[in-house]
Amino acid sequence: MKTRIETLISQIGEIIVGKNEAVQLSVACLLARGHLLIEDIPGVGKTTLSHALARSIGLQFRRVQFTSDLLPADILGNSIFDREQQRFVFHAGPLFSQVVLIDEVNRATPKTQSALLEAMEENQVTADGATHPLPEPFFVLATQNPQNQIGTFPLPESQLDRFLMRIGLGVPDRASERALLLGLDRRQLLKDLQPSLNAETLREIQHAVQEVHASAALLDYLQDLLEASRLRHRTGLSPRAGLAMLRASKAWALMQGREMVLPEDVQAVGIAVMAHRLGQDLESSGESGRALAQSLLKTVPVP
C-alpha cells in the first residue's frame, strides 16, 4: 500500500517540481476523504497540481471555472421540463462527478459558494426539494487567489471549515524553477499522465486510514491543541476541525508507513488543517492564520 502511495506522489512530483510537501499534503487530504483548497498567487501551478492529482487517481473528473456571474444552478444542475414525459427532469450539473476541480473558487459570489456547503459536507445535493446523492468518492479540489486580490469574495467561515486542508504552493526555488524551464510542456505531460490508482484501491486505502491507531496520549495532545486554540483565539478550532486534524494525521501516518499516529504527524498536517480555520480574527491579533497555527504547534507541549 505504501508503495502505491509513493508511486502516486512521485508521479505528481514529476509534474509539480520541487513542491514535495504540498504534493504530500494534497495526497494526504485525498486519502483522508477531505476536500482540498489550494491558495496562492496566480501562476505557481495550482491548477496543474489539481489536474495532476485528479488524473493520477483515475476517477471521473470535471472542472468548473468559477466566475462572478456563476449561479448555483450552473454547478448543481437544474430541472428542465421534458415535453415527452410531461414532467420536470433533473439535469445534473458538473458537481456530479467523483473529482471536481473548482478553479478560482473565490471569484464566485457568496451565493454560489454556499451552494457547495451541502455537497461538501453531506455528499448530496438538494435541488427543487429533491435530494440527489453525489458519487462516491467525492473529492473537491478548489483553488483560489489570496483575498486581497481585486475582484474576489472571501470564502465564508462555514465554507472554509469544510475544506480539510488549505495549502499554498509558493514560488519554486531556483533549481526547481530551472528544471521547470528546461522540461517539457506541463500541459502535454498532464495529457500523458496514466492513473496509478483506481477507485477500488483508493477506497481500500481510505479504509486503511481509518484503521490507523490514535492512542489516548495522542488524543490528549490533540485536545490540548484544540483547547489552546480556543483559549487564545476568539474563534478557536471547532470540533469538526478536531476531527479533521485526526483524519489528516492518520492519513499522514499511513503515508509514512505507520500503523499509529504520532504527534509529529499532527504537526506535519497541523498548519494545513488549522491555518484557514484560525485566520478569522485577523483584526484582533493581526497575524495570519498560518502564524497562529505555527505558534500553537510551537507552544503546546507534547504530553
Binding site: 491507531h213 483559549l231 476568539r234 504520532l262 485577523l282 493581526g286 505558534s295 510551537k298 507534547v302
Partner: protein, 997 residues
C-alpha cells in the same frame, strides 16, 4: 523564569504572634489544653499552605487576543483562568500580577465548569512584537498569611506600535493632475468604502441610502488610480534618529488613514547583523482598518537600531496606579457582610466566657462596636474617622484606668484588649485588618481557656476558633462566583459560600489532625522559668474549706460538679458505701465548729496492714491543696506530703488537672497514740452545758468500755428523733446544746462535729475527718466519679487495741444516705412526698438521660486523663518508651526548628511532584530528555519523541543506535495499539543513563 514559591506575607507576623502567645501561655502554666489549641491553629496554618499551593497550581492561565496599543499607553490583557480538574472547593481568591508589578482585578472563584475572566492593565514601555507576557499567579487563600506565587508565561501575540510623534507634514499623494482637495478621488471606478462626511464638502458623494438607514452622513469613496497614493517611505526621513523616524511614520499612517487616502509604506529590509538596508519591502497601497494595522504592525516589528540606544522611558520606582484597574475594586466592598457577620459571631462567642470578668465599659464598647460595624456594612456608610477613634481609645482606656487604678492585672488587661478589639473592628476595611481581627479573635478565644480547661470549655473555644477560621476563609474566597448553571438556576451564593468555607475548615482540620497528634505528643513541653501566671480563675469555684462549721458541707452538696474520678487498676473496688475518700483531718474542735490542727506527723506511727487498694485518680483543679484518697493513703505521692491524721496534702495549690496514683489500706491498726495527738484529741469544747454533761455521764456510767459509750451515743441519735436534712437552718449561741436538745436537725457536719465533741467530753479521743463518701460508678468508662455533692464528714475515735476507728453517725440517722449516696437518698425521700411530679429515674427517658450523662462524663474523664494531664513527665516517659532515650528537652527551639523543617521538606517534596501525575514511561522519558538536555541538546516542549530522538541520534552518533531504539520503544509505548513490554524500555533507558555523552 522564576520558580514557584511560597512567601509568608505580613499577615504571617500576626499568626506568629498569636502562636507565640499561645506557646508562652501554655508553657508557663504547663497547660495541655492551651497547647492543644495552639497545635490546632498551627496545623490549620500548615495545611492551609498546601491548600494555597493546590489552589494556585490547579489553574491554567491564558490570555485572550490583546488589542494593539501605542507606546506609552496601557495594554489591557484579557486573562482567562481555567481549572485543570474538578475540585470541590474550586479555586477562589486568585489574582494575577505582571512582571512590572501591575495587578489585575482578582478573579472570581474559578471552577471547573466556569472559567473566569479578568483584565490586566500594564503600561507599554517598549515598542515591538511580543509573543508572551510574563505574569505571576498568586493567592493568599485560604488563610491569608502565606502567598503562593506561580510564575507563568502567557502565550499571546501582541503589538506595541511606536508612539506617534514628529511634526513633518504628510507627504502629498503623487497624482498631480487629478488631485482634488479633501482627499476625495472621484476618478476611480471601484467603490472602495465610505468615510465620515466633513462639513463644507460637496454633497454629491454622500451615501444617502446609508443616511436613510439612520447612519451618520457618509461619503462614498472610489478607488482611484494607483498613482493617487501617499507613499510613506523610511528612506525619506534620513535626517531623523531611528526611533523618531518610526514615530513620524506612525503619525503619518494615522493621518493618512484619517484622511481616507490610499497609502503605502516602505521600510528597508534589514538583516540581523547590520542595519544597512539590503533592499526594501513595501506594503502595497490600500486603506481601511486591515491595511492600517498591517502598516502599524510592520512599524512595531521593525528591528531596533543596533547603533542608537533607544531613548529610555523615565524610570518608575513603583508601578503606576492605573485608574482603570482601580475602578474594578471598590474599597467599600472589600469586607463583605457575610464574612464580617461570621467573624463578629466568632468574636462574640469568644467573648462570652470572659464577660463576667470584663470591665462593663469594655463590654459595652465591644457590643456597640459589633453592632455599629455590621450596621455600617449593611448600610454602606462611611467608617468612623481617625479623631473619633482616638477619642474612643482615650475614653475607653481612661475609664478602665479610673476604675482599676492601674493597667496591670487580668481585668484591666481584658478591658484594654477589648477596647483595642472594638477599635480594630471599627476600622476594619482591608485584607490586613481582617486578618488581624481574626488573629485577635483567636487570642480572645484563648483567654476563655484560662478560666476553665474542661472538655466543654475547650470544645467551645475550639469551635469559636474554627468559626473564626471559616470566616477568614470565607473572606479570602472573594465574592463567590455564579454557581454551576445546571444547579439551582445559577444564583449567586452567599450563605452557600459560607457553607463551603465551613466545609473546607473541617477538611483542613481533618487533614491536619495527624499533625495535631504529633505535635501534641512530641512538641517539647517545658515548665518553669516563665514569670507569668493567670489570676487564679478557680477560686470562685466552691471548694471544700479548711474549716468545718454548720452548713459548710451542705452548701457543697448542692453542686454536682465532679471533683475527681478514680480507676481501680487491680479491679478491687470496694462497695460504694465503704468508699470514704479522706481529704483532711480536723483536730481542733469546739462544739460544731472544727478546724485543722497544726500537728506534727509522726512518721512511723502507722503500721501497714490489711489489703491494699490501688487507685488512679484524676482530680479536677480546685485551687486548694486537697488530695483525696480512700481511707487511708499509705504511700508517697510525688509533690504531696503526709499530714498528721493520715491524709495527703499537695505542696502547691491544685490549679490544673492533676493525675496521681495512690495505695490505701482500709484496715490498718495503730497501736500507739502520740502524746501530742492524744492531748489534741481530748480537748473538750469550751462551753459544755449541764444537759450535755449529764447525758454523757449517763452513757459513761452505763457501760464500762469505750465501745459501749460509742454505741450509746449512736443510739441516742437514732432514737431521739433527729432528722437529716440539707437545710437545717442557722445555729447560733451554744450550737451544740441547741442541736442536741432543741432543733435536732442537721447535715453530716453537724452530726460528725457533735459526735466527736460528745466523745471528747466522755474522755474518748476523737477527731473529725472531712472528704467525700461514695461516688457514682461509670460502667462505660469503668471508673468512679466523685462529685461535690458527695462531700461528707465523719468521725474517728481512738479505741484501745483497734486504733482509730471510723464512726459515721449519719449511718445511724439516715442509713439510706450511706447505702446509696446523697442524690438518690434525697430523691427517694422526695418521691415519698410527691411521687407524681418527680422525674422518674427508672422511666425510659430518665434512663436514657442518665446514660447520656455518664457517657459525657466518661468523655470528660478521658479528656482529663489523656489530654489535660499529659505533661512534661508523661512526654518524657513516652519518648523513652519509644526508645529515644532520655532527651534533653529543655530547649524547645531546636525542636521547633526541626518541626518546621520537616513540614517544609514534606511541602517541597509535594511541590516538586509534577502536575498532573504521569506514568512510568513518561517519567523515564523525561529523565532521558533531562540527560540529553544536560549534554547540550534540550528538547523543546512541543517536539515529539520520534523527531527528538532522531535529532539526538544525529547529535550523538556514538549512541545513535541506543537513542533510536529508545525513541522507537517510547513511541510504541505511548501511541501504538499494542504496547511493547515496559521492561524493555526501562532496560534501554537504564543502559542509556550509564552512557557517557
Amino acid at each position: 523564569m522564576r520558580r514557584f514559591r511560597l512567601r509568608p506575607n505580613r499577615n504571617a507576623l500576626g499568626l506568629a504572634a498569636i502562636l507565640i502567645a499561645m506557646w508562652y501561655a501554655a508553657a508557663s502554666q504547663s497547660n495541655s489544653a492551651v497547647y492543644l489549641l495552639g497545635f490546632v491553629l498551627a496545623s490549620l496554618a500548615t495545611v492551609s499552605i498546601v491548600h494555597a499551593w493546590v489552589n494556585v497550581y490547579g489553574v491554567a492561565l491564558s490570555a485572550e487576543p490583546i488589542a494593539p496599543v501605542f507606546l506609552g499607553e496601557d495594554i489591557g490583557i484579557p486573562l482567562v483562568g481555567t481549572a485543570r480538574r474538578r475540585r470541590r472547593h474550586g479555586h477562589p481568591g486568585l489574582r494575577v500580577t505582571s512582571a512590572t508589578g501591575h495587578q489585575a482585578a482578582p478573579f472570581d472563584e474559578i471552577r471547573f465548569e466556569s472559567p473566569q475572566r479578568s483584565l490586566l492593565w500594564i503600561r507599554a514601555e517598549e515598542r515591538g512584537r511580543f509573543e508572551t507576557v510574563e505574569v505571576e499567579l498568586s493567592t493568599i487563600y485560604p488563610m491569608g498569611f502565606i502567598t503562593a506565587i506561580r510564575p507563568d508565561q502567557l502565550v499571546q501575540l501582541h503589538f506595541v506600535y511606536p508612539k506617534p510623534d514628529g511634526n513633518l507634514p504628510l507627504p502629498q499623494s503623487q497624482s498631480p493632475s487629478k488631485h482634488l482637495p479633501d482627499g476625495i478621488r472621484s476618478d476611480g471606478d471601484d467603490f472602495s468604502g465610505t468615510r465620515a462626511y466633513r462639513q463644507g464638502e460637496s454633497q454629491r458623494h454622500i451615501d444617502w441610502k446609508a443616511a436613510a438607514r439612520g447612519q451618520p452622513l457618509l461619503v462614498k469613496q472610489w478607488a482611484g488610480d494607483t498613482d493617487d497614493v501617499i507613499r510613506l517611505d523610511w528612506h525619506t526621513l534620513g535626517a531623523l534618529p531611528w526611533e523618531a523616524r518610526l514615530s513620524q511614520l506612525t503619525r503619518w499612517v494615522i493621518q493618512a488613514e484619517q484622511s481616507g487616502a490610499t497609502y503605502s509604506l516602505t521600510l528597508p529590509k534589514l538583516t540581523e547583523s547590520s542595519t544597512d538596508s539590503s533592499g526594501s519591502s513595501t506594503i502595497r497601497p490600500d486603506h481601511g482598518p486591515a491595511h492600517f494595522h498591517e502598516c502599524l504592525r510592520a512599524l512595531a516589528a521593525f528591528p531596533p537600531s543596533l547603533t542608537e540606544r533607544a531613548e529610555p522611558l523615565p524610570p518608575r520606582s513603583e508601578p503606576v496606579p492605573l485608574p482603570r484597574a482601580n475602578d474594578l475594586r471598590n474599597p467599600h466592598s472589600v469586607v463583605r457582610t457575610d464574612s464580617l457577620a461570621a467573624i463578629c459571631l466568632g468574636l462574640f462567642l469568644g467573648a462570652v466566657p470572659l464577660l463576667d470578668r470584663m470591665p462593663p465599659v469594655a463590654t459595652a464598647m465591644f457590643f456597640a462596636a459589633l453592632i455599629t460595624r455590621l450596621w455600617i456594612n449593611v448600610k454602606g456608610t462611611r467608617l468612623p474617622s481617625m479623631p473619633i477613634k482616638l477619642v474612643l481609645l482615650g475614653g475607653g482606656l481612661g475609664v478602665i484606668g479610673l476604675i482599676y487604678g492601674s493597667m496591670v492585672g487580668i481585668e484591666p488587661g481584658l478591658g484594654i484588649l477589648f477596647v483595642l478589639l472594638s477599635l480594630k473592628l471599627l476600622e476594619t476595611n482591608t485584607i490586613h485588618d481582617f486578618q488581624v481581627l481574626a488573629m485577635l479573635g483567636w487570642f480572645v478565644a484563648l483567654c476563655g481557656l484560662f478560666f476553665s480547661q474542661d472538655l466543654r470549655s475547650w470544645l467551645y473555644v475550639g469551635t469559636v476558633g474554627l468559626i473564626l477560621t471559616a470566616a477568614l476563609i470565607r473572606f479570602h474566597r472573594g465574592p463567590g462566583s455564579a454557581e454551576n448553571p445546571l444547579k439551582k438556576g445559577g444564583r449567586f451564593k452567599g450563605a452557600r459560600g459560607f457553607g463551603n468555607s465551613v466545609k473546607l475548615t473541617g477538611t483542613m482540620l481533618l487533614q491536619g489532625s495527624p499533625l495535631i497528634l504529633l505535635l501534641f505528643l512530641f512538641f517539647p513541653r517545658t515548665y518553669g522559668g516563665y514569670q507569668f501566671t493567670f489570676s487564679n480563675g478557680i477560686t470562685n469555684q466552691r471548694a471544700m474549706s479548711e474549716k468545718m462549721e454548720p452548713g459548710s458541707v451542705a452548701t457543697l452538696a448542692l453542686s454536682d460538679r465532679p471533683v475527681f474520678r478514680v480507676e481501680f487498676p487491680d479491679q478491687n473496688m470496694p462497695s460504694t458505701s465503704q468508699m470514704y475518700w479522706r481529704g483532711g483531718v480536723l483536730w481542733r474542735g469546739d462544739g460544731l465548729t472544727w478546724l485543722r490542727g497544726g500537728l506534727r506527723l509522726e512518721a512511723d506511727s502507722i503500721p501497714l496492714t490489711g489489703p491494699a487498694i490501688r487507685q488512679q485518680i484524676v482530680m479536677e483543679p480546685h485551687g486548694g491543696r486537697w488530695i483525696f484518697a480512700l481511707d487511708r493513703p499509705m504511700n508517697e505521692v510525688s509533690k504531696t506530703t503526709q499530714e498528721a491524721g493520715g491524709y495527703l496534702q499537695s505542696i502547691k495549690p491544685v490549679n490544673k488537672s492533676l493525675r496521681y496514683s495512690v495505695v490505701s489500706r482500709p484496715e490498718n491498726r495503730e497501736t500507739k497514740l502520740f502524746p501530742e495527738h492524744l492531748v489534741a484529741a481530748l480537748q473538750k469544747p469550751s462551753n459544755v452545758s449541764p444537759r450535755i454533761q449529764a447525758l454523757v455521764a449517763s452513757w459513761v456510767k452505763g457501760s464500762a468500755k469505750e465501745q459501749g459509750v460509742v454505741e450509746s451515743a449512736l443510739k441516742f441519735f437514732q432514737t431521739e428523733n433527729f432528722s437529716y436534712t440539707l437545710t437545717p437552718g442557722r445555729y447560733s449561741g451554744d450550737a451544740l446544746d441547741q442541736f442536741l436538745f432543741v432543733r435536732r436537725s442537721g447535715f453530716c457536719e453537724h452530726y460528725a462535729g457533735a459526735f466527736a465533741s460528745l466523745m471528747r467530753i466522755a474522755g474518748i479521743p476523737a477527731r473529725v475527718v472531712i472528704g467525700f463518701h461514695g461516688g457514682e460508678f461509670n460502667a462505660l468508662g469503668g471508673y468512679v466519679i466523685v462529685r461535690q455533692c458527695d462531700a461528707h464528714a465523719w468521725c474517728e475515735v481512738w479505741l484501745n487495741g483497734r486504733g482509730w476507728a471510723r464512726v459515721d453517725p449519719v449511718d445511724a440517722i439516715a442509713p439510706g444516705r450511706i447505702q446509696s449516696g446523697l442524690t438518690s437518698f434525697l430523691e427517694s425521700r422526695s418521691r415519698d412526698d410527691d411521687s407524681q411530679t418527680r422525674t422518674d429515674s427508672t422511666s425510659f427517658t430518665g434512663r436514657f438521660l442518665s446514660r447520656l450523662r455518664l457517657a459525657w462524663d466518661s468523655l470528660n474523664y478521658q479528656w482529663d486523663l489523656r489530654v489535660l494531664s499529659f505533661d512534661e513527665e508523661s512526654q518524657r516517659s513516652l519518648v523513652s518508651f519509644l526508645g529515644f532515650g532520655e532527651p534533653s528537652w529543655l530547649s524547645p527551639l531546636p525542636w521547633i526548628a526541626m518541626t518546621a523543617g520537616v513540614c517544609f521538606i514534606i511541602l517541597s517534596l509535594r511541590i516538586r511532584r509534577p502536575w498532573p501525575q504521569e506514568d512510568v514511561a513518561v517519567r523515564e522519558y523525561s529523565r532521558f530528555c533531562k540527560k540529553l538536555a544536560a549534554s547540550g541538546l534540550p528538547r523543546p516542549a512541543f517536539e515529539g519523541a520520534s523527531d527528538f530522538t532522531e535529532r539526538a541520534a544525529c547529535h550523538f552518533p556514538a549512541q545513535a543506535v541506543l537513542i533510536r531504539k529508545i525513541g522507537a520503544l517510547y513511541v510504541q509505548l505511548r501511541y501504538a495499539r499494542s504496547a511493547p513490554a515496559l521492561a524493555d524500555f526501562l532496560t534501554e533507558i537504564k543502559a542509556f543513563q550509564k552512557e557517557k555523552l
